[in-house]
């Protein structure tokens, strides 16, 4: 059976299994509805990058590398540095990932993580000015290596961890000097995300891949201390306002927990 056909069948099976389990108040791995799987963050795993981290939530693994570059600034912000988030769904991470140009899923993932970092205003772009027509650029690359569900939270965690591991390179005569640093990247806040799925009338935090199969609707809420910095409803389905507000409350509390790993 092909991977896609397998996926289709799995969706049906997982849906029935999860619905039955939820009726008994259980999930597929016997966690509580608002529990994360084991979280593990390892910083500084790459020596070639200015910052790096491997984040794992359960079996899901996302590696983040942060590299500095020089760039022409955007015309409307000539004095400000630039940062960008890219996500690569490596074909080795899932039987459903295929080589090729970025899929809408990887673009969405990168952009949601980007919005969290941007809205939280954690990167001081004004400090990244080099000279007229030249600024520093920070490239935040997310490598999805094992898709066990909830890529978004794992990726956001990897990005926050890699950024907090990042050292700012020295710039001499308008050029970056590699391996010579002015100090750590200043990061006043650490944005993380919490992703929920809705199955019937139940809302679950941190879905497994198999739980995602059974999802009616998915919502990601990005937080810093006391504030929401991004949201994205993704995939099919809909939610009530009350359900969104419930997710926001849990996300604010769980954000604290996730930040403790950073």
């Amino acid at each position: 059976m092909g991977d896609e056909a397998r996926e289709l069948v799995l969706k049906e099976v997982d849906r029935e299994l999860l619905t039955n389990l939820l009726a008994q108040g259980k999930r597929m791995d016997e966690r509580g509805l608002n529990d994360y799987r084991n979280v593990k963050v390892t910083k500084g795993v790459l020596s070639t990058a200015e910052g790096s981290a491997l984040a794992q939530i359960g079996d899901t693994k996302v590696l983040c590398g942060v590299k500095f570059g020089e760039m022409t600034p955007f015309p409307d912000r000539p004095k400000e540095g630039v940062f960008m988030v890219m996500a690569e769904f490596l074909p080795l991470a899932s039987p459903t990932f295929e080589p090729g140009p970025p899929s809408p899923y990887s673009i969405e993932l990168a952009r949601v993580v980007d919005r969290g970092i941007r809205s939280a205003e954690v990167i001081d772009t004004e400090s990244m000015f080099i000279e007229e027509g030249k600024v520093l650029a920070i490239f935040i690359d997310l490598y999805v290596m094992d898709h066990g569900g909830n890529l978004t939270d794992t990726a956001a965690l990897a990005a926050a961890a890699a950024l907090s591991d990042t050292k700012v390179p020295k710039v001499v005569d308008g050029k970056i000097v590699r391996k010579d640093y002015t100090g750590p990247l200043k990061m006043p806040d650490k944005p993380v995300t919490s992703t929920f799925i809705k199955v019937g009338d139940k809302i679950l935090l941190d879905p497994l891949r198999s739980e995602e199969h059974a999802s009616d609707c998915q919502l990601t809420v990005g937080t810093i201390e006391g504030q929401v910095v991004c949201m994205q409803k993704s995939g099919p389905g809909s939610m009530k306002k009350s359900e969104v507000m419930e997710c926001i409350d849990v996300a604010l509390a769980k954000g604290k927990e996730l930040r403790s790993y950073l």
Binding site: P75, E80, I107, R111, V229, S238, K240, K241, V244, D249
Partner: protein
């Protein structure tokens, strides 16, 4: 970067009240070739949407034996913004927006009626002034209905957020660019299910709750305009004039 004063003497930059929508004009059935179409002028946004299908699914191996495949392509014209000339065709931003718009309509389009086919939503932003994705949703909903595609409900939305320290409805370009936060959101009409939700910037839970409420109220006004446009399209024989 100089930030303009977004809120002055109880009024917004363009003189609107905090809960006031920009002027919205919707015309259904403005294109001949497309099976359904709509033009939406929403403040300075000008959006055209055309619907094709249900038609044969291409590539064929993507076809589902259970339902029609809903596809969406949202793009911005190279001349849509006041700043420099943009690039034609899809980019990362438009790819993401296309995806979430398609997913929003997946909630209402009765795709199970047309197995093995696809339905295409083509929506192009001709002129942009903030809030294009919500205006695109308004256009797509009307165009789908105009195409006679069966839907369980209508979708209407608005971008709410915070600008100049105030919670405001239907953010304009300056409010979007310089404001504190932006939350485009869309609901089904009958059940008020949230089928589209994005947010950036900072907001507290209390502000979020208030914003969703005011978005719900404003979306109702958008719905009225959508349904009026559809009624008018039935009265006009052989389609309506496209007045951009």
């Amino acid at each position: 970067m100089e930030t303009p004063e977004l809120f002055k003497d109880g009024k917004r930059l363009d003189g609107r009240a905090l809960d006031e929508l920009r002027p919205i004009r919707i015309i259904a059935g403005v294109l001949k070739e497309a099976e359904g179409s709509a033009f939406v002028e929403w403040g300075g946004n000008k959006i055209i949407c055309g619907i094709y299908g249900p038609r044969e699914c291409i590539p064929k191996h993507d076809a589902s034996p259970y339902k029609s495949l809903l596809k969406c392509r949202y793009t911005m014209s190279p001349f849509a913004s006041l700043e420099e000339h943009g690039r034609t065709g899809p980019n990362r931003r438009s790819t993401e927006i296309s995806k979430v718009i398609r997913e929003a309509f997946g909630n209402v389009v009765m795709s199970g009626e047309f197995p093995k086919t696809q339905i295409d939503i083509y929506v192009d932003v001709l002129q942009a002034e903030g809030g294009t994705r919500i205006a695109a949703i308004a256009a797509a909903a009307v165009a789908l209905a105009n195409a006679g595609i069966p839907m369980k409900d209508m979708i209407s939305g608005v971008a709410v957020g915070k600008a100049g320290g105030q919670l405001a409805v239907d953010l304009g370009k300056a409010e979007d660019n310089y404001g504190e936060s932006d939350m485009p959101i869309a609901f089904t009409h009958r059940d008020k299910e949230i089928v589209f939700l994005q947010m950036d910037g900072k907001l507290t839970p209390d502000e979020l709750s208030k914003s969703i409420d005011s978005a719900m109220e404003a979306s109702e006004k958008v719905y009225m305009l959508q349904s009026e446009a559809l009624k008018k399209s039935y009265e006009a024989e052989g389609g309506q004039e496209l007045e951009i």
